[in-house]
């Protein structure tokens, strides 16, 4: 980029920003308060948290774009991030400005109507970071005049919403032993709640809360309990020290009980249970935490003593139905779970994909692993495979159809153990997995599940598995993307595709909806860009 071009770019954008601020000054509110986050349903033009609201539903009340006119959706703008790899970000939108993140810890703010950048930030990363599975970031949280994000070298950073200036930057853990952040934080009250990644490196997982104003850590919940703490007895010997249980996807918040629901991932090493006999609490669990103190009120472990890398880090979705306060999760292990979110008691668990690891349930109704599902040195086939029936891709729940929409995959793998000593900062899987040639070709779906009975109401089959999340809207639509680069609108009631657009890059992100100047937009990241669509 030449200096002349750069100057012009700065001048143009500066001018536009001034113009923009002049235009929006009358309508923009200064700050995104906790009260606004709590009542986000009252401002459907904004998308203020990772899942759109605290319930985790990823449902937009906007209906300007609906099943009657979705066929005429058109691309309005594209923002090229310049990043390579998987773009997993969920943007936020507040008062006409879109905030998002990209690989290698970039963050940026755009004019939500035009995609023109207002500021761009990139964290300076050391050269020897240890992110598993891509140098990704899933998004930001917003509170007050700051946006927050976690970095691949395990910092938590607050940026000024207007300039991208760093307000505070704190180190949460030592990246050299395998800690990193890829998750979008959740802002609750005056806190920034964030869960750590690193289950592939034998870290000891945690969920942290930081004072949004200062960056001071207010509480930490270790997801692997230490000696003397309840649950430590579920680990053999000293295995708890490298027990994993990361917390790398965003949880939800229930104001009625002041509880944060946050899911956890695999015990380490991920695919070899020898040496860590026991249930390995609180790996692969949903944790209900007091928002003020981080104290655990209850937990529910989906996969005990996991040996297949089935992190339970899928977004837990709060559903209120028939006077019941529920929380539902489509789990990586192939079962769809519904719990009572007041008590953590299991209500139902139903397979929603191809599963061979369990054919019995315990007294609570929880699927129990067959002995023969355990990986062996020679290796044998288990379904789902290591990638799971679903993974990090965000699901959606539509209160109008009362359906839960989730991206799923049918794939089986050969799981083979590979004994491996723990060494700080080095990959610690204890295993290998291979595609199984006994299995059918891999298949990918969008499924609509009725949480009342776990039955699948409709299925849209992709030509190959996708990593895209799902958005549902009051316009009777669900939106998702595919591995071949299409962004697709489907009828929420039937699964019939109504519109698609070829974006030219595979989708690893989840869509959002927002409105600006009275026009509804649907936005999603694909390839290395963010796209926004609206009616002509």
């Amino acid at each position: 980029m030449s200096r002349g071009f750069l100057s012009k770019q700065i001048f143009t954008t500066l001018s536009m920003s001034i113009l923009f601020c002049a235009l929006c000054a009358a309508s923009a509110r200064a700050q995104v308060t906790f009260a606004r986050l709590l009542n986000s349903g009252k401002e459907p033009q904004n998308w203020l948290t990772y899942s759109g609201d605290y319930s985790g539903r990823r449902f937009s009340p906007l209906d300007q774009v609906n099943s009657g006119n979705a066929h005429s959706l058109t691309a309005k703008w594209v923002f090229q991030t310049g990043a390579t790899g998987k773009l997993e970000t969920t943007p936020l939108v507040a008062d006409g400005i879109l905030y998002a993140s990209a690989q290698d810890d970039r963050a940026f703010a755009l004019d939500a109507r035009t995609g023109r950048p207002i500021w761009l930030y990139q964290h300076q990363l050391p050269g020897d970071i240890r992110p598993c599975c891509g140098r990704v970031n899933r998004g930001l949280a917003i509170l007050g005049d700051k946006v927050f994000f976690g970095t691949l070298d395990a910092h938590v950073i607050a940026l000024d919403t207007k300039t991208g200036n760093v307000i505070w930057d704190v180190v949460a853990a030592d990246y050299r032993v395998g800690y990193s952040f890829t998750v979008a934080p959740l802002a609750v009250k005056n806190l920034v709640v964030i869960g750590v990644s690193g289950g592939e490196y034998g870290v000891r997982g945690f969920i942290d809360a930081y004072d949004a104003a200062t960056g001071a850590r207010k509480w930490r919940l270790n997801t692997v309990p230490g000696p003397g703490e309840p649950g430590n007895e579920t680990w053999e010997g000293d295995s708890w020290k490298v027990g994993g249980a990361p917390a790398w996807n965003t949880g939800t918040y229930d104001a009625a009980t002041n509880q944060i629901f946050w899911p956890t991932g695999n015990p380490a090493p991920s695919n070899r249970g020898a040496g860590r006999a026991g249930d390995n609490l609180y790996s692969n669990s949903l944790l209900a935490l007091d928002a003020d103190t981080g104290k655990m009120n209850w937990y529910f472990q989906f996969t005990k003593h996991d040996e297949h890398d089935w992190d339970a880090t899928q977004v837990p979705v709060m559903i209120d139905s028939g006077g019941k306060h529920l929380i539902a999760q489509a789990n990586r292990n192939g079962f769809f779970y519904v719990l009572d979110r007041t008590t953590g008691k299991l209500i139902s668990a139903t397979a929603y994909g191809k599963t061979t690891w369990s054919d019995t349930m315990d007294a609570e109704g929880r699927p129990v692993a067959k002995k023969e599902a355990s990986p062996t040195l020679e290796g044998h086939t288990v379904c789902p495979g290591a990638l799971g029936t679903t993974n990090f891709m965000a699901p959606a729940y539509d209160p109008q159809t009362a359906l839960f929409y989730v991206t799923s995959r049918d794939q089986c793998d050969i799981f083979s153990t590979a004994p491996q000593p723990y060494e700080a900062g080095h990959a610690y899987y204890g295993s290998a997995y291979f595609p199984s040639d006994e299995a059918e070709p891999y298949r990918g779906f969008l499924k609509a599940i009725d949480p009342a009975n776990g039955q699948i109401k409709w299925t849209f089959e992709h030509i190959s598995p996708t990593w895209s999340g799902v958005l549902s809207t009051a316009g009777g639509l669900v939106f998702t993307g595919d591995a071949e680069g299409n962004f697709i609108a489907l009828d929420a009631a039937t699964g019939k595709p109504l519109w698609h657009f070829q974006m030219g890059g595979a989708v690893y992100a989840a869509p959002i909806a927002f409105a600006a100047d009275g026009k509804e937009y649907i936005a999603i990241a694909a390839g290395s860009a963010v796209y926004a669509f609206a009616l002509p």
Partner: protein, 289 residues
């Protein structure tokens, strides 16, 4: 630690960041070099065992369990390798990958910092321990194999080698170097078997899957061919006369996809074991030169 103040003097530093994003990304690709140029674990059986487990975790997805070749990685039990001879060369290849092939550099497959030098040397000790020291020379007659490939066996009607041949099937110039003899023979005798697996990208033998597509267009024309590409809404295909068709699925009367390959099954009555050995010898000669 605060890092923002370093660039606080630049009000619009963000736009400078844009210009260095790419440069910074490139800096992360750090080449590995051996601390020592000789394998400290040469001949060490215990290290080779540790190397076997490292191999399973890092290499077997492509090179197969036992290093005998997999979906897209060559058989490493062969003493003669295409890209490396010495342990030092092998270290370089594992560290830095092989440009122009799918062999990645250590640490660039999304798994953080990758293997340590010692772990790489252990893997090399393992590979050396499973090499077949005096491999049987390809049994066949490569010159005759070439005659068959371009002649009576009709392979070149659909397959190209070094720029000569058909376009309907996979290009085969490198296949003799990257696939085992057994895998090539199986592909000829049972051409649909691997296609039926439908493996995902990391294990695909070829970037294209070669499923058989049959469509009936709106005007009633039936077209049968192989898929060049496909998404949920469109298909790009080639028929047996190498005509390319670009089709929207919702405008077709019918669309069917099969994992039964268009390649005929070459049973031993159609192609004798000896003639097949000759073709394999030809593919091996071309693929390993």
């Amino acid at each position: 630690m605060f890092v923002g103040d370093k660039r606080a003097e630049c009000r619009w530093r963000g736009f400078l960041v844009v210009s260095i994003w790419t440069a910074m990304s490139m800096l992360f690709a750090i080449a590995g070099y051996p601390a020592d140029d000789r394998n400290p674990f040469a001949g060490d059986a215990k290290a080779a065992k540790a190397g076997e487990y490292e191999f399973r975790i890092n290499c077997a997805l492509c090179h197969g369990l036992g290093a005998r070749g997999g979906g897209r990685g060559p058989d490493l039990t062969r003493a003669q390798k295409k890209h490396v001879h010495s342990d030092e060369e092998m270290f370089q290849v594992i560290s830095n990958g092989i440009p122009g092939t799918v062999m990645p550099a250590n640490g660039t497959n999304g798994q953080g910092v990758g293997m340590t030098d010692d772990e790489i040397w252990q893997i090399i000790a393992y590979i050396r321990s499973v090499e077949v020291k005096s491999p049987a020379k390809p049994a066949g007659n490569a010159a005759h194999g070439k005659e068959l490939f371009y002649g009576d066996a009709n392979c070149s009607l659909c397959h190209m080698i070094e720029g000569k041949g058909g376009r309907l099937g996979p290009e085969l110039t490198g296949v003799g170097g990257s696939r085992t003899r057994e895998a090539i023979i199986d592909s000829v005798r049972n051409p649909s078997r691997r296609l039926a697996w439908g493996l995902t990208e990391p294990t695909k033998e070829f970037p294209q899957e070669y499923e058989t597509i049959t469509v009936v267009t709106a005007d009633g024309k039936e077209i049968k061919g192989v898929a060049l590409n496909e998404d949920n809404f469109t298909v790009q295909m080639m028929d047996s006369s190498e005509q390319i068709y670009l089709l929207e699925k919702d405008k077709l009367r019918s669309f069917t996809k099969s994992r039964e390959s268009m390649m005929p099954v070459y049973g031993s009555s159609l192609l004798s074991d000896k003639d097949l050995d000759d073709i394999v010898a030809y593919l091996t000669r071309v693929g390993t030169k």
